[in-house]
């Protein structure tokens, strides 16, 4: 790589990689951020449920009977003596209180209906978790009572269950669930990453060069403006792609590590899909890299570049969120001609394993047009004397 643009490319990458700020914000942070956030959220949600189900502390109010024995027999239920059960539930000393009605056991033995009240705190997640545990126990007790009543009358228990429903999901159902999640999130993330990933590098290599005063000597070297531009553009795109890769890797680690948080959605994609999605991500990064470089060259300073790039970020975000709910199955062919929307749609197709040659060629043809147009735009900016020497 001894061509002049290659020299520019290598130097710019070296320079960018030596910038701690760039490396941390665009490579390291995205890699660890998602795993840490989701890890913590997942852990706290999980541990709270675990804590409650391990030892369900309840208050029992009323006669000492077989229900109490039945509840106490469960290894994870602990009955705590309570003087004021309302207060104790409120304070969280017990998760809930079981209050049995008068003559409970007697009514049951006479085939009558007995009643139970469960006092719980509807604002407390722990209380509700305990509620479901206790309810299950009482239901089991209830079934026991019913069984005994029927038996004493010589009737089989199955009379209560004339129809048994077995629900059996299609085997691929789970994969689809994962595809659904991916379908909404992946295009969104890829768009956002493609907007934000190349930005720091674009600002540094465009406006930064002006602000440092290195542009003038650079323009009197053998490198033509197109070579300078192309070297810079490639370096910025590489930074963007690295950013996307590390963000996605972070996201994948988060998915894998915190299944409690994401559910057990199966995120399997075919190799072909992954390759096409990767290609699309690269193209997407190049589009934004060239637009951002052009804007950055136009700007006088870092600050100005940041100001001008804000609207571009907003456009990217709007496109990203706009495609969030877009359903690719009902998308008209027209939509494949709308910038960014077409890329989001094609990504959604790749995720569900649809490879429509017409859609792919329309979208990629447009992508090439966008890239060429923004390179020409950047070149135009770079050739304008009043832009290069703006003071």
């Amino acid at each position: 790589m001894n061509s002049l643009w290659g020299i520019v490319f290598k130097k710019e990458l070296k320079d960018l990689f030596r910038d701690k700020k760039t490396v941390i914000t665009s490579i390291i942070l995205p890699l660890v951020l998602f795993p840490i956030i989701f890890g913590l959220m997942g852990k706290s949600a999980k541990s709270s449920v675990e804590k409650v189900t391990k030892e369900v502390k309840i208050a029992y109010v009323g006669e000492d009977n077989s229900l109490k024995k039945f509840l106490a027999s469960a290894p994870n239920i602990k009955i705590i003596n309570s003087k004021d059960y309302q207060e104790d539930v409120k304070k969280g000393d017990v998760y809930l209180a079981v209050v049995v009605g008068d003559r409970f056991e007697e009514k049951l033995s006479q085939d009558k209906m007995a009643d139970i009240k469960i006092i719980y705190d509807s604002d407390s997640g722990d209380s509700q978790t305990a509620m479901s545990v206790v309810r299950d126990m009482i239901n089991a007790y209830k079934e026991e009572v019913v069984k005994n009543r029927l038996l004493s009358k010589g009737i089989d228990v199955s009379i209560l269950n004339p129809i048994e429903i077995k629900d059996e999901p299609l085997k691929k159902e789970k994969a689809n669930e994962g595809a659904l999640v991916l379908n909404m999130l992946l295009p969104l993330y890829l768009l956002i990453y493609a907007v934000t990933g190349p930005m720091a590098a674009a600002i540094d290599l465009g406006a930064g060069e002006k602000e440092r005063g290195t542009l003038e000597p650079l323009l009197t070297t053998q490198a033509s403006r197109m070579q300078l531009l192309f070297g810079k553009l490639c370096a910025i795109s590489v930074m963007g792609i690295i950013g996307t890769t590390s963000s996605l890797t972070g996201l994948m680690i988060a998915f894998k590590n915190s299944p409690d948080f994401f559910g057990s959605a199966n995120l399997s994609l075919s190799v072909g899909s992954i390759a096409l999605i990767g290609l699309t991500a690269i193209v997407l990064n190049m589009i934004f890299a060239s637009v951002e470089l052009a804007v950055s060259i136009y700007a006088k300073s870092f600050k100005e570049a940041q100001t001008y790039l804000t609207p571009i970020t907003v456009v990217g975000m709007i496109a990203a969120y706009g495609t969030f709910m877009l359903d690719v199955k009902n998308a008209s062919i027209m939509l494949f001609n709308v910038p960014l929307v077409n890329i989001a749609l094609i990504l959604k197709e790749f995720i569900i394993g649809v490879y429509n040659p017409l859609h792919i060629s329309i979208t990629f043809a447009w992508a090439i047009v966008y890239i060429l147009a923004s390179i020409l735009f950047a070149r135009y900016m770079f050739s304008r004397e009043d832009v290069i020497f703006r003071t």
Binding site: L4, I7, V8, K11, K14, D15, R18, D19, R212, G213, T214, L215, E216, P217, L218, L219, T220, T221, Q222, A223, S224, E385, D386, I388, F389
Partner: protein, 242 residues
């Protein structure tokens, strides 16, 4: 070596440089003298092919800068402005090497030149350190080395001592004199007659884009009977001395 022929630059309504012609020979330092906004930077930018002249042209080593900008760029080195722009995260060597590479030098050539320059400018001990924390004087030397690493025959200096302290200015001035010794053709812009008097063989005075004087410093002195040249200069540019 340098032959400027009727260079003119118009920015919309403003004519920044208006039909200027002068010559610079080998081993000669020509001072381009003018007040703020006179058109010095614009002239030097045109000679260095960064700006396209609206009219006229210049020949550098017999190469026309309009027909042959790439070849012209091989022949010139520039040191513009007091602010030395360097890449802070690269070492001094890497900064210089980048420009050597972009100047089309082979690796051996580039390294040989850099070692030589490091010796000459006395920067061996910090040549492999990142320039971010360098002092002004150290940075100045790196910028100088960068400007001549490709052995240009023509050197263009645009107010190279502006904003520099005495010792950094001295580094630059010594370097300019050294270039002269090596038979380079040098254009050196300044708004200080003192500096021009000290360094230059000939002087070109421009005012509002127009050439108002061209001749040797000696002649200028003789013509004005030994009057202080600073006063002569002020008179030529209209005497707005506030």
């Amino acid at each position: 070596m340098i032959e400027v022929m009727g260079l003119t630059k118009k920015f919309k309504e403003v004519t920044a440089v208006d039909n200027i012609s002068f010559k610079v020979n080998k081993g000669e330092i020509v001072g381009l003298l003018g007040e703020n906004g006179a058109g010095k930077t614009t002239t030097l930018r045109m000679i260095s092919t960064m700006l396209k002249p609206s009219l006229g042209t210049a020949k550098i080593c017999d190469l026309d800068l309009i027909k042959n900008p790439d070849e012209v760029r091989k022949k010139i080195g520039i040191l513009f402005g007091g602010e030395v722009g360097l890449y802070d995260r690269l070492t001094a060597r890497e900064n210089i090497k980048y420009f050597a590479d972009l100047g089309g030098l082979s690796n051996e050539e580039a390294n040989r030149n850099i070692d030589m320059l490091a010796e000459m400018l006395d920067m061996k001990e910090y040549i492999d350190r990142r320039v971010g924390k360098f002092s002004r004087g150290m940075k100045q030397k790196v910028a100088i080395a960068r400007a001549i690493v490709h052995n240009p025959e023509v050197m263009l200096f645009d107010e190279p001592t502006i904003g520099l302290d005495v010792s950094s200015s001295a580094i630059v001035q010594d370097f300019i004199l050294d270039c002269k010794k090596r038979q380079r053709a040098i254009v050196f812009s300044s708004h200080s007659m003192r500096e021009v008097e000290k360094l230059c063989d000939r002087v070109v005075i421009i005012n509002k884009g127009k050439l108002v004087y061209e001749g040797t410093v000696e002649d200028l002195k003789n013509e004005n009977n030994g009057e202080d040249l600073e006063r002569v200069f002020l008179r030529m540019v209209g005497g707005k001395n506030e």
